[in-house]
Amino acid sequence: MLVTNIEILPDKRIVEHLGLVQGSSVRAKHVGRDIMAGLKNIFGGELKGYTELLQESRAEAMERMIEQAEAVGANAVLNVRFSTSSVAAGAAELFAYGTAVVLE
């Protein structure tokens, strides 16, 4: 499954557009990460715990988007966009969406 955020692929032809596919995942941090973040607030530095959390979240969102694309019979997702927002205390929603297409 080809996933890309460009729109016109130089060497392939789009046969059919299959509409919007989306994948999202909402994850919460736990107190362990939070306490480390609190300490880092004093010492500074990268919040590795949070970075990992959001990376896992993004990977899961992409997976779900690809699952939707496969379900409608596409073999590529073009023009992918990401969006992050906080929707609950301490939880962030990672959202990926794009156009499912059949390439030749």
Binding site: L18, L20, S25, V26, R27, A28, D34, V87, G90, F95
Partner: protein, 148 residues
């Protein structure tokens, strides 16, 4: 003892009304998606040059509130981490509703397709920091008529 009882009552009300509203909403979403299936929405930016006309910006937005039960689960999840499944369904509903409202607007203009669809999510809260009250989703794109 009293606060425990009040808490349980609020949770029961939140769960009862929340899940009823959710299942009703999902039924409505699935019906309307089938009705509007003739209007695809895609994120590509370049429509076919020669046979499309009447480009109009269309948008749809919705604000859905969080019930007590979902908020309680999110608070517990904050302690142990992991996926907040209660919020997943909430956001799924909100997004699909926003897209449907956008397609509705396009349908009223007799358009056939919507290009360059973008989605934005944000949370609306009372401002005390951690208390998220509701979730807003906007979907917008350009509606076009294609001549067959």
């Amino acid at each position: 003892m009293i606060d425990l009882i009040i808490l349980l009552m609020l949770l029961a009300i939140g769960y009862g009304f929340g899940s009823y509203a959710e299942s009703r909403h999902y039924k409505s979403i699935i019906t309307r998606e089938n009705d509007l299936r003739h209007i695809p929405a895609i994120t590509s930016r370049f429509p076919p040059q020669n046979n499309s006309s009447d480009a109009t910006l269309v948008s749809g937005s919705v604000v859905i509130s969080v019930d007590y039960f979902k908020r309680f689960i999110a608070t517990l999840r904050n302690l142990v981490g992991g996926r907040v499944t209660a919020y997943e369904s909430l956001l799924d509903r909100a997004r699909r509703e926003a897209i449907l409202r956008m397609k509705n607007e396009a349908a009223q203009l007799n358009s056939d397709i919507i290009f360059n669809v973008k989605l934005e999510t944000s949370s609306i809260h009372k401002g005390k920091g951690n208390r998220i009250g509701s979730v807003e989703v906007i979907a917008y794109g350009t509606a076009l008529k294609t001549s067959k």
